[in-house]
Symmetry: C2
Subunit: 384 residues, 2 copies
């Protein structure tokens, strides 16, 4: 079943469902993206430590990566991006890119000077310079970046903010979504709306109704896994995700662990991004599993969160003399070539090669993890 999405060149093909879980393909002018999909995060125009070639090649074979509007706007800046002809050409990445709106980083990284119904004035975390983001400014930056999927500019209140602040943020996010929808976009650039509402199911569903009425190409759940109890995250996922329109892609922003991804997919989510595989890699945490990449029996039902996948702390003394790979079942170049002992040595010696090898491995783990779940949905699910 294929649904044409509002933006020309985009369509969403649903192939199979297993409970709320779905396997499909998001077709874009720059190529097809099999869903569920994990999108590696390329904050500043580079998925840290990786080349475009390594991301494109199996076993990672990333079909889409993420770029951060806030970071790219501050550095290298719009002038350079415009001159380069957009982020794809600047970073030599020819597959789809999703850009966030900058909202999350403005609220989490920068010093806020002023926040009003029109937008946000903030200070750069790099040099303290003053800038203003509004829905129109965010959309213009994303237009210049030329991402394939742009995100609406939204307000993300802190998890512990009181009700009045939450409600005002929801109203603003709706109003800003409308303004984003009306802003000019690059040719072949889709736009996703973002549903907020914290861990209140009623507010989430009400906001979902407001956002989904605006005819976006897809819908995201924002403001989850931002500090609340993971059981609350999962509850909202279970109660809200499958109520988002079934004929458009659903994206869970900034989440999460391999177990979180599995839970999100079981709840009906199609797209994920998270710095976890790349950041954990650099910090010495490598994903591994004695039964690697086999989805738990919990899918598609709710059940208890699955214990997180095996994780290797490469700094552990035991790895000093371990000549085996991180993960015997992993087909990545790192595991095929190098021992834990070598990786630990590189990590301890703060060698750049460590970050490369570790990131390659963790992104491989995530890619295979999500692909294995997709295969199971295709194998055991109901064809649509």
């Amino acid at each position: 079943m294929i649904t044409q999405l509002p933006t020309p060149g985009f369509s969403f093909e649903l192939l199979a469902t297993l409970g709320h879980a779905r396997a499909g393909i998001l077709h874009t002018p720059r190529g097809a993206i099999e869903t569920p999909v994990f999108m590696p995060v390329g904050t500043a125009g580079t998925v840290k430590a990786m080349t475009a070639d390594e991301l494109r090649a199996p076993p990672i074979d990333a079909k889409i990566i993420l770029g951060n509007t806030y970071h790219l706007y501050l550095r290298p800046g719009l002038e350079v991006m415009e001159l380069a002809g957009g982020l794809h050409r600047f970073a030599a990445w020819d597959r789809p890119i999703l850009t966030d709106s900058g909202g999350f980083q403005v609220f989490s990284l920068s010093g806020i000077n002023q926040k009003d119904d029109d937008g946000v004035t903030f200070q750069s975390h790099i040099d303290g310079s003053k800038h203003r983001l509004t829905p129109e400014v965010s959309m213009n930056i994303q237009r210049v970046l030329g991402s394939d999927i742009a995100m609406c500019f939204d307000e993300c209140p802190p998890g512990d903010a009181d009700q009045a602040i939450h409600d005002r943020a929801l109203a603003r996010t709706t109003a800003w979504a409308k303004r984003c929808r009306e802003s000019p976009r690059a040719t072949g650039q889709a736009l996703f709306g973002i549903v907020q509402g914290g861990v209140d199911t009623g507010k989430r569903l009400a906001h979902a109704e407001a956002i989904t009425s605006l005819d976006f190409d897809g819908h995201a759940l924002g403001g989850l896994a931002v500090g609340e109890d993971i059981a609350e995250t999962y509850r909202i996922l279970d109660e809200v995700a499958h109520q988002l329109p079934a004929d458009k892609p659903r994206y869970l922003m900034g989440v999460g662990t391999p177990a979180d991804l599995e839970r999100g997919i079981a709840a009906g989510i199609d797209m994920f991004d998270c710095v976890m595989p790349t950041r954990n890699a650099r910090n010495g945490y490598l994903f591994s599993s004695s039964e690697p990449h086999r989805p738990s029996a919990a899918l598609p039902a709710g059940g208890k969160p699955r214990p997180s996948s095996g994780r290797v702390n490469i700094a552990n003394a035991a790895n000093r003399t371990d000549l085996g790979p991180i993960d015997r079942a992993c087909p990545c170049w790192t595991c095929a070539t190098h021992s834990r002992a070598y990786l630990r040595h590189l990590y301890v010696a703060k060698e750049i090669l460590y970050a490369r090898l570790a990131t390659l491995h963790n992104l491989t783990f995530y890619a295979r993890h999500v692909r294995a779940i997709r295969d199971r949905i295709l194998a055991d699910g109901r064809r649509v």
Copy 2:
């Protein structure tokens, strides 16, 4: 003309000469090394930021790399190296490796506690722990590392040391060379002697006579480009290099710029190592040239030092909006794929990918530079 070297499996084939410059092949049990050759430096078991695959692949195609005995002895240490079966297997590098003796680092990096005719007691620059290096200890570490070419443990006095200290260091280096020569080695491990003597031609030649009488597989000039005027370095090169035995490889340790390499080759040197291409890359200095890799007319005569190759300071503001490559004539992946603007952005944002792309380029420049000189010797020189 092929000369069997003292260590079984090693031979030196001289193909052509042009003045004092030579083109040849150093045959080793792990493969042939076309000379002149530049050896990338892999201090701690990794040529910083590079994988073994990238070093082996054209256009770098490194036939031999260098490992640092001092660094590898301190970290990961001999126990790990022994368990791993040597540095080749530890680092997944199957081509030849040359290890230095640790002497230079002991004298330049560590705190010296005691220095006597037997050896040196020093404190680790990493954790202050106390260690002792003697000719026998250095040779044993190099035996465990299993390098293809080991270097004699020598004393490197500071350039401004007085005559008595210099003379004692020379006498010690000779005595230590004899002890290294008598120490056990790994199977298929050659040993090079090191000629010291500062910038005093007489002392250099006298020491060369002492060292070359000990039947090593090759000879190195040590203690050059350690702070003295470059004209002095070149003078010693011109007066001493060609007087080392012609039927064995000659190695100029730790030198230098592209122009230095050309001067060294003109003086009769066959092998070079230097951190310059890798370290400069990380620090933002990229080699480039409007007339890339064409040896100057100076070769093989002495003449004035050639102006150094063009160098790009990637941080320069002009590169911010420069969409061209570092070097239009360079065949490396970096130049084929990425602009100066992108590289500058990565450099300014302190992205790991910058170090990778920059190192790949600079090592390509060095490899092509030396190969172009070799081709010229083969084309214009006298066949031997």
